[in-house]
């Protein structure tokens, strides 16, 4: 409980700092970094804690984004937090179903299946005319933010911060609970865990559902941020690479890893995007990921832990 309060305090401080800066681009950068932090932490629940690599990040993320588009068209007055929750539930259900189909097999097959899932979901949405299909969908951003006033971008940032608090608190709670120990047992040696009585399938399904659900929630505000969403950008591989690279670079063993990874890599990417070019910033995540995977498998957090 105290940890959650500390997180809320930090989030409030960051938001107040942003308001004081009064620079709308700062809110965009902040939104992107926190979004990647949520994505990375969500991925890490399944990838770092349980050891199952999910390449289908784009599927869950886009389910969240397109749920918002669909809901917005059906019920234009629905408040965004409700849409976030619905997106999370939908994405979580998809995670559960995918997990049920594939988690009885080796980890490698699960990873390949998640790749397959991403393409299936993209094809389905591209063929779904209601959300615009390949033409894309426009979502008009309201001019004023509800509740807090000011630009709408600030409201999006506040929501994302809130989501970040929830996800981090959940991740840390998992780490210190029986659930987390179960995950770690699966990651280290699944056969031994199963033999010791750990209900591996059930735990893996929980991990997949939580992970997918949070990724969907991270994607829900996206249409309001970009205002035009089409399958090519919604399913962009950048989201997948970043969601995987940031925990790997920051460290997959703890909740702090994805945070460190998101701040460092996300910040670096935005800096490169405005100084050099848009294509190079995308290369950074890939190169750093490969370098860290080869040289420092425990990530940045791991480097510091070893020094002690």
């Amino acid at each position: 409980m105290p940890f959650t309060l500390v997180l809320i305090a930090v989030a409030a401080a960051i938001f107040a700092f942003g308001r004081w800066l009064d620079n709308s681009y700062a809110f965009v950068v902040g939104y992107i970094v926190v979004q990647y932090m949520v994505l990375g932490t969500a991925w890490n629940i399944l990838g770092g804690y349980t050891g199952y690599v999910n390449f289908g990040v784009t599927a869950f993320f886009a389910i969240g984004a397109y749920s918002t588009v669909a809901l917005h068209k059906l019920v234009p007055t629905l408040p965004l937090p409700v849409m976030i929750v619905v997106s999370g539930v939908l994405a979580g259900l998809v995670g559960l179903r995918t997990g049920y189909l594939t988690l009885r097999l080796r980890g490698v097959f699960f990873s390949i299946a998640t790749l397959a899932l991403a393409v299936v979901v993209q094809t389905l949405i591209t063929n779904w005319d209601f959300v615009g299909g390949a033409r894309g969908a426009y979502v008009l951003r309201p001019r004023m933010a509800p509740l807090i006033g000011g630009e709408y971008m600030q409201y999006l940032f506040l929501l994302m911060l809130g989501l970040g608090v929830i996800v981090l608190a959940t991740a840390r709670a998992i780490e210190r609970s029986a659930l987390g120990y179960g995950f770690a047992a699966i990651r280290d040696d699944e056969a031994a865990a199963e033999a010791s009585g750990v209900p591996t399938l059930k735990l893996k399904l929980i991990a997949t559902t939580l992970s997918g659900g949070f990724m969907g929630m991270a994607g829900a505000p996206l249409p309001f941020q970009v205002t035009y969403l089409d399958p090519a950008s919604g399913f962009s591989l950048n989201y997948a690479v970043n969601a995987i690279a940031m925990p790997l670079i920051g460290g997959t063993g703890s909740w702090l890893g994805p945070v460190v990874g998101a701040v460092l890599v996300g910040g670096l990417q935005e800096y490169l995007r405005v100084t050099i070019s848009s294509a190079v910033n995308v290369l950074v995540a890939g190169v750093l990921m490969v370098a860290f995977v080869i040289a420092a498998p425990q990530g940045i957090v791991g480097l510091f832990q070893r020094k002690r």
Partner: protein
């Protein structure tokens, strides 16, 4: 009735030819993943590299794309051996979880795609060859040569590799590595050296597959992603470790995709491969002819 039968037959025939082409693309992964247990999801990146080299050979030097690919075979073989060496030193020797290896290849796939975008741009690239336009008209149906040539190249590769694996000493050693590495070590053979040769072969096939790809369709850096799922769907459906199984699975997928394209629309075609993959994993993970 006659019209739709004609359409059906054409769809099946082009599906078969397409399947042959898919077999060329999947041979490398059938070796790497099926026999060496290396999840090389970056294989489409090597194929794209082959495509772009064939493109350069065709536009700058004016040589036939397949000839360009054959010329580059030794280079790709060496590249494969180097890639395996990196993979071995960084991952296999440490006996690490496959998480790191997978992420490594994923990173390689991504980096190569972005690098190709930076070097060649996102325009579609094609090659010029005498067999790209015309079709072989066989009365009832037509065989587009641009499908037939990759099909033939693919069959030659598949048969050649199968003969290599079953008749030559090194080939049988590769099969032995797939079955039992420890036993191979006890027989005074070095599994690492064998794996290096096999992975080199796997990447060498990517060179020819790349030429086939750019003959079949215009190429741009991001189409590699469509092929990851197809390739793994084919290998899993065919059964890991079986080259004939892979060819059968490739034909099956080709026909399924062709029928879907013809009767439901081409935008549904990518989902077919992945649907098949998910169903196979859920129902019969060992595939058609798997061990």
């Amino acid at each position: 009735m006659a019209v739709s039968l004609d359409l059906l037959m054409n769809a099946v025939i082009s599906g078969l030819l397409l399947g042959g082409f898919y077999a060329a693309v999947s041979i490398g992964v059938a070796i790497a993943f099926g026999m060496l247990d290396i999840v090389n999801i970056a294989h489409p990146a090597f194929i794209l590299l082959g495509s772009y080299i064939a493109f350069i050979g065709n536009t700058v030097f004016g040589i036939d794309p397949i000839l360009a690919a054959v010329i580059m075979l030794p280079a790709f073989y060496l590249l494969g051996m180097a890639a395996y060496q990196v993979y071995y030193v960084a991952f296999e020797r440490r006996d690490d979880q496959s998480l790191r290896g997978l992420s490594f290849f994923f990173g390689v796939l991504f980096i190569s795609e972005v690098a190709l975008v930076l070097i060649f741009g996102v325009d579609y690239r094609t090659v010029q060859a005498p067999y790209i336009g015309p079709s072989l008209d066989l009365g009832l149906f037509a065989l587009p040569l641009r499908l037939l040539v990759p099909f033939l190249v693919s069959m030659v590769m598949a048969v050649g590799l199968q003969l290599f694996l079953s008749r030559t000493f090194v080939g049988r050693a590769v099969q032995a590595v797939a079955q039992d590495q420890q036993a191979l070590r006890l027989m005074a053979a070095n599994p690492t050296r064998i794996k290096r040769i096999a992975f080199g072969l796997s990447i060498a096939t990517a060179s020819l597959a790349g030429a086939c790809l750019i003959i079949y369709q215009p190429v741009e850096p991001s189409i590699g992603r469509e092929y990851i799922g197809r390739v793994f769907a084919i290998c899993v459906l065919g059964g890991l470790g079986s080259l004939p199984g892979m060819v059968i699975a490739a034909m099956t997928l080709g026909i399924a995709e062709s029928l879907t394209s013809t009767f439901f629309g081409p935008s549904w075609a990518p989902a077919v491969a992945f649907g098949i993959l998910l169903v196979t994993l859920a129902v019969r993970p060992s595939g058609i002819l798997g061990r």
